[in-house]
């Protein structure tokens, strides 16, 4: 997604200039506030006539907000949500980050509007179509390669799901990225443990995931995927002297922020009524 609009852009009631925030505590507080507002927007989308992929949208939100913050630095960094079914989370994150001016929630899934169940490049801030799993990973790797050839410092950040790692295309790209020493390629795994039909561990488990990435030739970091301080610090790192791509295994909770569904595989795709949405939104902190 592009970040042509810098973060000082007015975002609803938030006119914070993040570039002016020199205190990391203030930065994290601001990003946390964004995450809260984004989660409420996702719940609004779950209350739309078509519902949404709620669990994965909520689990990936903090990762997206941190990644978009890195991309707002205008250094050519591109963020690709490869787990495109979490489109509601992406739309919400883009909006609270100031990249998508209009509120997507009331328009989600409606004819005449681009906010489909999986994102495409008609949405402001989205560059690649994703949802057929695996493709966003090589898109981001190609972007990283383009940056390198052009002498830029930007990252290609792919945000994938752990269930998505069952796709061969992901590992094909990992092989290529390592062989090309694509150090400005970052693959963040939203490890929420769930997939469409149940738990990853029950369907096609991914044991020793960090070791797998290391064996492919990646630098590997494990992190709490809801810790905005850790995520922003990780993604702010200068990788210009690195030789290996970076895998970030981010542990998350499916449905994070909505206590009624947290950790439940059944929250993968949810349609709720407005009364329940209002109750859930009030409880999001």
């Amino acid at each position: 997604m592009t970040t042509a609009v810098r973060e000082e852009t007015r975002v609803g009631d938030d006119v914070t200039d993040l570039a002016a925030l020199t205190d990391p505590v203030d930065l994290v507080a601001t990003l946390t506030e964004r995450a809260v507002r984004a989660r409420r927007l996702v719940v609004d989308m779950a209350a739309s006539p078509r519902g949404c992929h709620l669990g994965g949208s909520l689990s990936v939100l903090d990762i997206l907000i941190a990644a978009l913050h890195r991309a707002a630095g205008d250094d050519g960094t591109e963020v690709v949500l490869s787990k495109g079914h979490a489109a509601a989370g992406l739309y919400a994150a883009l909006h609270v980050s100031g990249i998508l001016p209009e509120n997507p929630a009331p328009l989600y899934g409606l004819a005449g509007h681009p906010y489909t169940g999986h994102p495409g490049p008609k949405v402001p801030g989205v560059r690649f179509p994703t949802g057929s799993l695996g493709h966003g990973v090589p898109y981001a790797a190609g972007w990283a390669l383009s940056q390198r050839i052009g002498g830029g410092n930007g990252l290609g950040i792919a945000v994938a799901g752990d269930g998505e790692l069952q796709e061969g295309l992901v590992w094909e790209t990992c092989q290529v990225a390592a062989a090309q020493e694509l150090a400005n390629f970052v693959l963040v795994v939203d490890r929420n443990g769930g997939q469409n039909d149940g738990m990853v561990a029950d369907i096609s488990p991914l044991p020793q995931l960090p070791q797998r990435f290391a064996a492919f030739g990646f630098d590997v970091v494990e992190v709490d995927g809801h810790d905005l301080r850790a995520l922003t610090a990780l993604l702010a790192e200068d990788r210009s002297t690195a030789r290996r791509p970076l895998a970030v295994v981010a542990d998350t909770v499916k449905g994070k922020g909505v206590r009624a569904v947290e950790g439940k595989p059944g929250c993968h795709y949810v349609t709720i009524d407005e009364a329940r949405a209002a109750k859930w939104k009030r409880a999001i902190r």
């Binding site: 591109e78 495409g120 490049p121 560059r127 690649f128 179509p129 057929s132 695996g134 493709h135 990973v137 090589p138 898109y139 981001a140 790797a141 190609g142 972007w143 990283a144 390669l145 383009s146 940056q147 050839i149 052009g150 290609g156 061969g168 295309l169 094909e172 790209t173 092989q175 290529v176 062989a179 090309q180």
Partner: protein, 326 residues
């Protein structure tokens, strides 16, 4: 009556290269003055790739990873580059089909896929290396320019146009066979290259597609000299729609020769575009060749040979009220 020779050649070159070698040579030449051109291979580019020698910083052999290669090309295009990716047609059009749909179609990314080993040019390598279905797949994806150049000069012209236009291209070619370029002058490829058109509008017109389709059509013309012959390079829906109108201005009975299955091929498309005309297909039958042989032998096993073309001409001529074309 023969129409004036139309444009094909812009460069005088002493050596005629195969389609894939002409591609490599032309792209290498163009990249000298366009530093956005990037060349990607998937372990089938062969050793001694001229692009690698001339522009090593923009040449990437990504290994046996066709889907990743096409998708990474989308990322490169988004970053301002002009990626040219190449791998055998069966792997590009079939294994990476979804990536082609998204990258070339939906994204309309400025990515060119050059696919050698189209048809059964892989011959004795076997069915895994045959590709008689790529036109059917690519022609159904909106927005993709599809080309099947014949000979060195056409391939170079198509590559130049792909670079110039920045539009998504799929270019099918053969293995290592060389074909003498059709005569012509000028800088651009014509929509329809009329090698020969008969004065009688009821005369049957051969329509040649691709390398072997054109070779067979030229051989049939030698056997039946009065036969009209129109050669097509661009095979996507948009180009064919325009070409069909031009074909119909000269003739009403066509025999289309193509190294592809009939289903989803050019004859089928022209039949839909020209409902008032008679279109006969000489194409691969629906069998799966399971024996060895060279390119010509495997084509013959599929019903794609000179006797088949001449038979189709005779049948079309008989239907037109002319007992024979010879």
């Amino acid at each position: 009556m023969s129409l004036p020779a139309t444009a094909l050649l812009t460069d005088e070159r002493p050596v005629t290269l195969s389609g894939r070698d002409a591609y490599r040579d032309e792209l290498t030449r163009l990249a000298a003055s366009d530093d956005t051109i990037v060349c990607l291979e998937a372990d089938l580019g062969g050793k001694g790739h001229p692009f690698q020698a001339a522009h090593p910083e923009r040449f990437f052999n990504l290994g046996i990873a066709e889907g990743a290669m096409v998708d990474m090309a989308a990322g490169l295009a988004a970053g301002g580059h002009k990626p040219f990716v190449s791998t055998f047609a069966p792997f590009a059009a079939l294994r990476a089909a979804e990536s082609l749909k998204l990258t070339l179609g939906y994204l309309a990314a400025g990515v060119t896929v050059v696919a050698p080993y189209a048809g059964v040019s892989g011959a004795w390598f076997g069915t895994t290396h045959h590709c008689l279905e790529d036109l059917a797949i690519l022609r159904s994806v909106p927005g993709v320019t599809i080309a099947a150049p014949y000979g060195d000069a056409e391939m170079r012209a198509v590559v130049r146009e792909a670079v110039r236009s920045g539009r998504p291209h799929y270019i099918r070619t053969g293995r290592n066979a060389t074909y003498e370029s059709l005569p012509g002058v000028g800088a651009e490829l014509p929509l329809v290259n009329w090698e020969f058109t008969a004065a009688d509008p009821d005369a049957v017109c051969l329509v040649s597609v691709g390398e072997e389709g054109t070779r067979l059509a030229l051989a049939a013309r030698r056997a039946a000299p009065g036969t009209a012959h129109a050669h097509l390079v661009y095979l996507d829906h948009e180009h064919l729609t325009e070409a069909a109108a031009e074909l119909a201005r000269h003739h009403s009975r066509f025999v289309v020769v193509e190294e592809h299955r009939g289903q989803g091929g050019v004859a089928e498309a022209l039949a839909l575009l020209l409902p008032a005309c008679q279109v006969t297909s000489v194409s691969a039958n629906r069998s799966w060749p399971s024996q060895g042989g060279d390119h010509e032998e495997v084509m013959a096993a599929l019903g794609l040979d000179l006797p088949a073309v001449l038979d189709a001409l005779d049948r079309a001529a008989t239907a037109a009220g002319h007992p024979t074309t010879r």
